[in-house]
Symmetry: D2
Subunit: 293 residues, 4 copies
Amino acid sequence: MTDNAMQKNLNTAVLLIHCPDQKGIVAALTRFIHENNGNIVYLDQHVDHTDKAFFLRIAWDLDNFLIPDIKIADYFETLLAVKYNMTWQLHFSRHVPRMAIMVSRLSHCLYDLLSRWQDGEWKVDIPLIISNHQELHHIATQFSIPFFNIPVSGNDKESAEQKQMKLLKEHNVDFIVLARYMQVLSENFINEYPFRIINIHHSFLPAFPGARPYQSAYERGVKIIGATSHYVTRELDAGPIIEQDVTRITHKDSVADIIRKGQDLEKIVLSRAVYAHIEHKLLVYKNKTIVFS
Amino acid sequence: MTDNAMQKNLNTAVLLIHCPDQKGIVAALTRFIHENNGNIVYLDQHVDHTDKAFFLRIAWDLDNFLIPDIKIADYFETLLAVKYNMTWQLHFSRHVPRMAIMVSRLSHCLYDLLSRWQDGEWKVDIPLIISNHQELHHIATQFSIPFFNIPVSGNDKESAEQKQMKLLKEHNVDFIVLARYMQVLSENFINEYPFRIINIHHSFLPAFPGARPYQSAYERGVKIIGATSHYVTRELDAGPIIEQDVTRITHKDSVADIIRKGQDLEKIVLSRAVYAHIEHKLLVYKNKTIVFS
Amino acid sequence: MTDNAMQKNLNTAVLLIHCPDQKGIVAALTRFIHENNGNIVYLDQHVDHTDKAFFLRIAWDLDNFLIPDIKIADYFETLLAVKYNMTWQLHFSRHVPRMAIMVSRLSHCLYDLLSRWQDGEWKVDIPLIISNHQELHHIATQFSIPFFNIPVSGNDKESAEQKQMKLLKEHNVDFIVLARYMQVLSENFINEYPFRIINIHHSFLPAFPGARPYQSAYERGVKIIGATSHYVTRELDAGPIIEQDVTRITHKDSVADIIRKGQDLEKIVLSRAVYAHIEHKLLVYKNKTIVFS
Amino acid sequence: MTDNAMQKNLNTAVLLIHCPDQKGIVAALTRFIHENNGNIVYLDQHVDHTDKAFFLRIAWDLDNFLIPDIKIADYFETLLAVKYNMTWQLHFSRHVPRMAIMVSRLSHCLYDLLSRWQDGEWKVDIPLIISNHQELHHIATQFSIPFFNIPVSGNDKESAEQKQMKLLKEHNVDFIVLARYMQVLSENFINEYPFRIINIHHSFLPAFPGARPYQSAYERGVKIIGATSHYVTRELDAGPIIEQDVTRITHKDSVADIIRKGQDLEKIVLSRAVYAHIEHKLLVYKNKTIVFS
């Protein structure tokens, strides 16, 4: 049975940690889990030798674990995190993350997200879809997901965001996927969901940030195009990159061809990033991601 | 405006030709079209120097073309095809191809096909979905496409195929997509749709033909997996390859991981092949495909 | 026998053409060659529908061609180029191009170029290697190619370039390959060899132009790195892209790992670009390349 | 400074281990090293949950390590390996591995190996090159490496192998690279160098094993070709795969084009595999490789 399968079926805890590198961290951690009867089902670590920083993802079976779930965070903080100066997150496999989707008019990423959800490929709930347009309403209906149309115009952007944030709170959203949502979010909005807003940009960043990257790629005459999924931060298209992929084009490809080929990349790259987020495989450090296997 | 865009908006004819290579074919063809007031919007040719064989795809605007559509085939046959010993197909952009989908229990390719159709990305009609199981009925319903469940068991395979072929005929199907349909079609069935049945095989053919290729890939320890879309011919998994793509795996990937990564390949590779078929970009020669740009 | 093989063995002419698109160009061209007893061994064309521009590469066997080699250009200009407003180049397969290599201290691209040349993979002569350093002298010696060390310092750059250009002229150089040559060439130098200086840049342009792209890629946290070969124009790293390729990296890759992986890309991408140039497969139009097959 | 850089400059030990998975292995190992004043500079582990097998690569600085180098193996065996039922290898960074190269007539892989060695990219010695032909003798001479021509004919294969093995022993060879060596080695020969003979096969194994894979790829009409580097075992082309890579081809590619594109893959894939072997990043388990980062 695989780690993923285990996490789906078993009752596991996942710890994501980073801290200054020093001797004995793995030993201390694994001892903590073993001594309390936890069976480790995943462990991967990384050391950044330049920064002398240590990163770890560890998952263990909670079934016979001696510390009650509700006290794990407290014990871990007291017994280990303070000592090693750890920044950490604790996740439980039985909590199904709640993912909001924001879209505009393009449907390809939305279909891809919804079909994976409906198929049961991902362990995620999708309580709502928010859009500044009406075009994709019918898809939400088709998949029986509440759809909220909140138009965004230049001068009422703030009030639109207030409505969006209210909805997201009411639906207890854990993270947000911008599935080709064509509006820039305010710093205020972003701060509410730090490293919990995932965007797909239709270029191989940092090439062609901003609007119309396919047109720019065509004009520059590149031989390869790409798509980039990243966490949204205040600086546009400059957040930590989660996943990228590319495909070849030639001089025969028109802008329409490039868009068509690029959209296939976009939906796959975005879905890979969302999967990694759902499975708690991502750690952000210095505006970069550690992506555990 | 691109060739594709043109074909969608304009009233064009597409000719796919192969014949023994000799001097003057392109000149004769382009003269035939120009002299009859056709505006060529696409021309791509290929010469197989080993076999001395010539291949061409040419498309032209019919709006001011002097030969009536209904007579083009006749004139072309008489004036050019006989002379150059051509094998050819003539397609009109105003005919929207009718595509049947056959599925079993896996949904990822089906979702991908249906979302492209519903989105208007492809100029195709989908009159029906046929399945040997009931699991995906709800998806057909969601997309408002008639779904026919025809169970296939070992000893009534022939009668099941009779029912399938009856349905396909009643719905005037032009071609069939096997979207992870898990039954082998009989020679009789295949002969009804020569080079008009498109399959997706979940390996990088000719590696791992037959059943359970992901398990085999895992056991062999390959570092790259693939998916292959091909026309179905009598020999299992040995028909002309239309499109392939691959992705890297490592020793960390379980069979479940390989399946997950492979399914993303499958749906994209299948959809690229279907697109090329719909756009009449494919020619079969000696069990290989010429794929025009 | 393949087109390439033919070009190596046969006595062929290659025409590269671009002109405004209009009816009958291919017909006129092929008629011109056929009527003069030329056997066409390659023809590939491209139409840019946005710009209504036409591009063509055509090669034919000269053995029985009625027009003497020395007069082909004249006849072609008079009979066809003027009429269709063509920009064109004529190349003869029996002329072996003369390629200069300019290097600094890194050897990987130089080894790759020299080994292909020595192996006879390319139909090219290498009359000299120029370097602003001495480090790679021994490699030139090893491959028995004259090596000229011309130091370039901030204030004598012009005189250094004068020496370089004098050498290039004396050696009748057709084109120049910058195999990780770490100096920016002056406009004056570049103008002497328009679209005949091929550079390799160690990033996926337009991402990370300028110096230290691997360091920048590491800092930005990209998941894929690339290399780009392009013709050198006045604007740094902004000339027409000939070829690009990429490879995946992860958070585990240090800058040293990225450099190691990138150097494998660099040498292959550069060599592919050089091959395309040698075989006259490249046309520049609006700062982009048409790369014929 | 990177791990690789460290291993080059520092005096390190590398342990490669596999054993049945159980609690506390990492803790025990890291404690063993820390308690003896070793500074861990690399640790990566993998658990095969299907087989309940544990794999680990760990490297540490020997400078202040309390156990003398010569006794590390003994202490490790006694204190840890027996207890955990470990299969293991111990390597010291100060030992420069001795690599023999065997070639036939094709030069591209040989050039690539020799240029990396001469450039100092790899920490390896190349005491000799053995060939069944004379064609590449001049390259060995160019790089000042002893070249031994041992012709192999059908009926004296055994005596040829005896001569080869004698030479390999005399030169204290650690491992052998078959750089397009076109002879099948006997079981007897292979047994002398278990998992220490690296071959490059010019296909995407398991597709097209045996001779003439490019011709077969052309005939089958695949859209992607590949190259595979693997350890040589008794079954031809069936040993543990170390590295693979692929490139796209189209119907336009002749067999000669496929060979040309494939040879670029071959040399890069082989060199990546050799690098991984030199750096002790490879573990073989059940005819598959674990490739540590």
